[in-house]
């Protein structure tokens, strides 16, 4: 882990000096992780790729301000989340249209699903992703940062420029919506 951090630190230092290959090292090392968060945020591979690209371009432009003591991955993911939020806000039609339909469908659509259906991991993936798409951009970002990346409330506040209560309530709302959306899957198992 510390070797990885040292490697990142060295690459960042060189990239700050305009070394393109050093920046490429960072892209190679972190682009998949950024893709995963972008995919969870946007729900679609092509959108996730756009967000990855935008994230690294913004990172490159801001790299002069990156504190060498900080963790590059954490810093990069913050940029990634904000890029994803911007991307999603730039297409509000799709966002809002899907939200209600998806949540409604998910809340009722799973009733009566057989156990056989559930053995397919793909179905869980689809349902979780659809449930995520029912969250607002802010709820989704706060929830994903907390759930997948283990960010503290303070870190989420800093990354998303939120007050503590707003960050907490984003997570509360997100989890409640996820519970409603995923309940039909759980009722089979319980």
């Amino acid at each position: 882990m510390s070797q990885m951090q040292l490697d990142d630190a060295a690459a960042v230092a060189q990239a700050k000096g305009g070394d393109e290959e050093a920046f490429r090292t960072l892209v190679d090392r972190h682009s998949r992780a950024v893709y995963r968060l972008a995919y969870r945020m946007t729900g679609r591979p092509e959108d996730a790729e756009d967000v990855v690209q935008e994230t690294f371009v913004r990172a490159y432009r801001q790299i002069g301000r990156f504190e060498s003591r900080a963790n590059f991955a954490t810093w990069l993911y913050r940029i990634g989340f904000n890029c994803a939020i911007d991307y999603m806000r730039a297409r509000p039609h799709r966002e809002t249209n899907e939200t209600h339909e998806t949540l409604d469908q998910l809340a009722g659509g799973g009733r009566g699903a057989s156990t056989d259906d559930l053995v397919y991991a793909g179905q869980i993936n689809e349902r979780v992703q659809a449930a995520l798409s029912g969250l607002s951009a802010q709820e989704r970002a706060a929830f994903l940062m907390r759930h997948y990346d283990g960010c503290s409330i303070e870190e989420i506040c800093a990354a998303l420029d939120l007050k503590t209560n707003a960050a907490k309530h984003s997570i509360f709302r997100a989890v409640k919506k996820m519970r409603v959306a995923l309940r039909p899957l759980m009722s089979v198992k319980v």
Binding site: G18, E20, F23, R24, V27, D28, S31, R32, Y35, R36, Y39, R40, P45, E46, D47, E49, D50, V52, Q53, E54, F56, V57, R58, Y60, R61, Q62, I63, G64, R65, C83, D86, Y87, A90, R91, P92, H93, R94, A121, I124, N125, R127, V128, Q129, R146, H147, S152, I153, K168, I171, F172, V175, K176, M178, R179, L182, R183, L185, M186, K189, V190
Partner: protein, 291 residues
């Protein structure tokens, strides 16, 4: 103790403690744990919460292609090279280029007549006339909805079957595609070639068509597209009014405006959305036709 609320349980799950100090937080957590072993309804809520979040954990993200890193670099490298030319370091706005497209079909010199045709079709459907080149506000100032636009919007009613919206989307698809190509062209133009002859003409055409589309977008309630067209307008004015050959500094300013306003990003996002909507409409129409 009182029953913990759903919010308390969520904080408990994530070990986020609302308490003022660590000792108090640990005591509160222990109290919730004890309560959950004795209270059936809270225990049930707790299990459901855990199962929900385990399902979230179980969801996997599809792995991108093996050459993902190389492909991403091919997209990122040109953008950061441009950023190098333009940096101030503090600039945090997007400069993302278009997703690579098949060469040739998107050549903007081909798109000019396409866009003009779209405008003509739109004018025919809505009974609108583009009129002379619009007199445009100073760069950066918002474009107000004029009385003429409002009046036109009031008299032109959507037929209710989505036909007008469909026509608008088709027109905007071509318009934004052409705009995207113009923006990419401006961003990528080498400093050794600062002649903007064709760009000026294209910007003028886009300006005139954009005003017509804006009017239609106002009428159909597509405020999102109105906003993007407004954002683009001042840049198009600058390009249309620029001298045939610009100075290096002037080109730099144009590029900065594209970057600072995130214009390319916005254009790509709305065009993406338009294409999805068109696809949805096409699917609905096809389904209706098959009934």
């Amino acid at each position: 103790m009182n029953h913990p609320t759903d919010d308390d349980l969520i904080l408990h799950f994530y070990q986020e403690r609302g308490a003022r100090n660590r000792e108090h937080a640990a005591a509160e957590s222990a109290r919730i744990d004890a309560h959950l072993t004795t209270c059936a309804s809270c225990g049930e809520s707790w299990r459901e919460l855990q199962e929900t979040l385990q399902l979230v954990d179980a969801a996997k993200v599809p792995e991108p292609a093996p050459a993902f890193e190389r492909l991403m670099w091919a997209r990122i490298a040109p953008a950061i090279r441009r950023a190098d030319d333009e940096r101030p370091v503090d600039d945090v706005t997007p400069v993302a280029p278009a997703r690579p497209r098949p060469a040739g079909w998107m050549d903007w010199r081909r798109l000019v007549p396409m866009a003009g045709l779209s405008a003509a079709v739109l004018a025919l459907v809505f009974g609108l006339r583009p009129g002379p080149r619009p007199s445009v506000p100073k760069p950066g100032s918002p474009v107000p909805v004029s009385a003429a636009e409002t009046a036109a919007a009031a008299t032109l009613k959507d037929s209710g079957d989505g036909q007008s919206r469909r026509v608008l989307l088709t027109a905007l698809d071509g318009h934004f595609a052409q705009t995207e190509v113009l923006l990419v062209e401006l961003l990528n133009r080498p400093d050794s070639d600062l002649t903007l002859d064709f760009e000026r003409g294209s910007a003028g055409d886009l300006l005139a068509d954009g005003r017509l589309y804006r009017l239609t977008a106002v009428q159909t309630g597509e405020q999102r597209y109105v906003d993007v067209l407004d954002d683009l307008e001042s840049l198009l004015v600058e390009v249309a009014r620029s001298p045939e050959k610009v100075k290096r500094q002037e080109m730099k300013v144009l590029r900065s405006r594209i970057s600072e306003d995130g214009l390319l990003f916005k254009v790509r996002a709305v065009n993406h959305e338009i294409r999805e909507r068109q696809q949805e409409m096409f699917t609905v129409t096809a389904n209706e036709g098959s009934l």
